[in-house]
Amino acid sequence: MPDIRVLVAVRQKHRYAKTYPWRKLNSFLTGIFNTVDYFIAMAGLVFCQSQARSLSGHRTLHFFKRIVHRLVADLESHDGSVRSHDPRKTLLRLSSVGALRKLYPYAENIFGLKYLDFLYLQFADCQQGLFGDRPIVDVAWNQPELFEEVCCLQKSCVILILHNGFAHGIRALSYFKKNLVAVFYFPEYSADFYKANKVNRPNDIEIIPVDREVLLKFTKVAKNNKAMICAPDAGDQDTGHYDLLSLGMFQLARSVNVPLYFFDFCMDDDCILRGFIKGPVDYSAGAFEAAEDFRRFCQSISGRTLTIMDKGWESRLRRPVSDARLGHAAASNRGT
């Protein structure tokens, strides 16, 4: 199948591309192509029942992305200001497309995001791919004063944000003077990540790679009045879904006795990105209880379902929960 970007470019770069009749025809063609993509995806779901679910989900995601690509390119050609100035407007337009809404439940969704959050992620990836510019949306905090309090803390703290909200969180924090330390699975991509997400002062953010010494390194960092930011969710090697939650940072916050904050984000119905903060969290009952608190917090905001794993998140593997480490609470939660 031809690359959607090539097809979009062909339709938009010829000599009549900017003329009114072509733009009308282009919109009409977009509708037809979107419908065709939708039916191919749905037919695939019907006829590929025997195939693995992940495969059909991957295939549906492919068609979902094609439709988003086409629509974003169309919006760009019709109204150049939409992309550069108001990603929310584009997102609102995309959210009203029936084909996308219908494909969403079948598309591969590794973070288990709600519709608008999932759409934003696809839209952002697509716009970055098409125009090299990731759409940035400002965060509307539920407790702005608490956010400022975190940014102005005179001591170290641990801030936990799920992978899907990591960029929003670190960007918002980067505009304050607080020194930051972030954990990265792949530190070599951190510069691109910061650039794409318009993170302020990227060179000032210390990076700690994920390995078995990561928590030990944090015990050292904790003495330097820095905000330690980390995404404690991890991908399951079997399913590829990010539905595991590592205990590491909860245990660390407890061990070094620094305030622990939870951040989570979600798009509301008006496509405004809402940021929620909880903290400082009481972890005196144990790391597992704090992780449970985080799990519930995320479920109530971004709707993500996480399973706590008794393992450093560099392992990304499930392991039975040991009573010795987690105590009675873990024993009663075994297998959940």
């Binding site: 078995r212 928590l215 015990t219 205990l247 245990q251 660390l252 061990s255 450093g312 560099e314």
Partner: protein
């Protein structure tokens, strides 16, 4: 005076009860099934037992248990 080597090995055995047979002075930490959480616990428990704050460097560079013991002994001797 307590035996640092014994305390190091004991602590590791507590953290990795299933690996007790493999815990030997020449064994490297990387060869044991320790994850980041275990490493943190290892450090915290040692600090508690020895009543001393240990630097992260003590555990770095894939040290063997003997090397760790020696680094801890050096740390204990410092005023």
């Amino acid at each position: 005076m307590f035996d640092v080597e014994q305390i190091v090995e004991e602590t590791l055995r507590e953290i990795l009860p299933g690996e007790a047979d493999k815990i030997k002075p020449d064994k490297k930490l990387e060869d044991l099934l320790l994850d980041s959480l275990d490493m943190l616990e290892f450090k915290m428990r040692l600090e508690e037992k020895l009543n001393v704050e240990l630097k992260v460097e003590v555990f770095e560079n894939f040290a063997t248990l003997r090397e760790i013991t020696s680094r801890i002994a050096t740390a204990l001797q410092r005023p």
